[in-house]
């Protein structure tokens, strides 16, 4: 009995190969990290800020610990792919990471120059350096990169 290789479609919502079990197995920790990060972003200014420093640091670090667990799952999932999909996925991830980095840096520079506050004066903060934003950007650029690089081999 041969073991089938992992294919990226298993975690692409709406794909014929999509498997909620595999999606959760690969992305579960990231989903949890994003939830906790969003929750702590809401709670920090009101509740958590009153807590002792040790607790505040612990709350802030939990998403990053979960992200490490997600990276481990992701690496195992990629390791279980066949060579073509491994190549496409690694290239798509490199594309996603570099595009996210580029986008966040560009956004930050525009924010510092006052670009966003000049256009929308009512809103004070335009910071996107949070786990939630990074997750959304990474996901968007990963799917974009995967679509571009996968098309070559169809």
């Amino acid at each position: 009995m041969t073991k089938k290789p992992n294919v990226p479609g298993e975690i692409f919502l709406g794909n014929k190969d999509y498997s909620i079990r595999m999606d959760w197995k690969v992305s579960g920790w990231l989903f949890l990290a994003t939830l906790i990060s969003c929750f702590s972003d809401i709670m920090f200014p009101r509740v958590v800020q009153q807590w002792p420093l040790g607790w505040r640091v612990t709350v802030a670090m939990i998403p990053f610990l979960l992200i490490l667990l997600w990276i481990r799952n992701l690496a195992q999932w990629i390791h279980g792919m066949d060579e073509l999909h491994r190549r496409i996925t690694v290239v798509a991830i490199l594309f996603a990471v570099s595009s996210t980095f580029f986008f966040v840096m560009l956004w930050h520079r525009l924010d510092v120059t006052g670009f966003f506050s000049a256009i929308f004066p009512r809103r004070s903060s335009w910071d996107i350096a949070t786990v939630g934003h990074a997750f959304l950007l990474l996901t968007f650029f990963y799917f974009l990169g995967h679509t571009i690089f996968n098309r070559r081999y169809k």
Partner: protein, 65 residues
């Protein structure tokens, strides 16, 4: 790189999925090799040669320079 994978597979009446299962790769990988969009790694090329019981150079032929 040119290859005879499609002919060899057809001669055994295997589908792309059958061959993919035998080589433990995805069907897309078999299709990409057959349409010469993707050159397999050396270990995969050896696996193909072993499966069809042929020397590797009888299946894969490098492009002429």
């Amino acid at each position: 790189m040119k290859n005879k994978l499609r002919e060899l597979r057809a001669s055994r009446e295997w589908s792309q999925s059958d061959l993919a299962d035998k080589l433990v790769v995805s069907r897309q990988t078999i299709n990409a090799i057959e349409t010469e969009k993707y050159d397999p790694s050396l270990p995969l090329a050896f696996k193909v040669a072993r499966l069809f019981k042929l020397p590797i150079e009888d299946i894969f032929e490098p492009d002429k320079e």
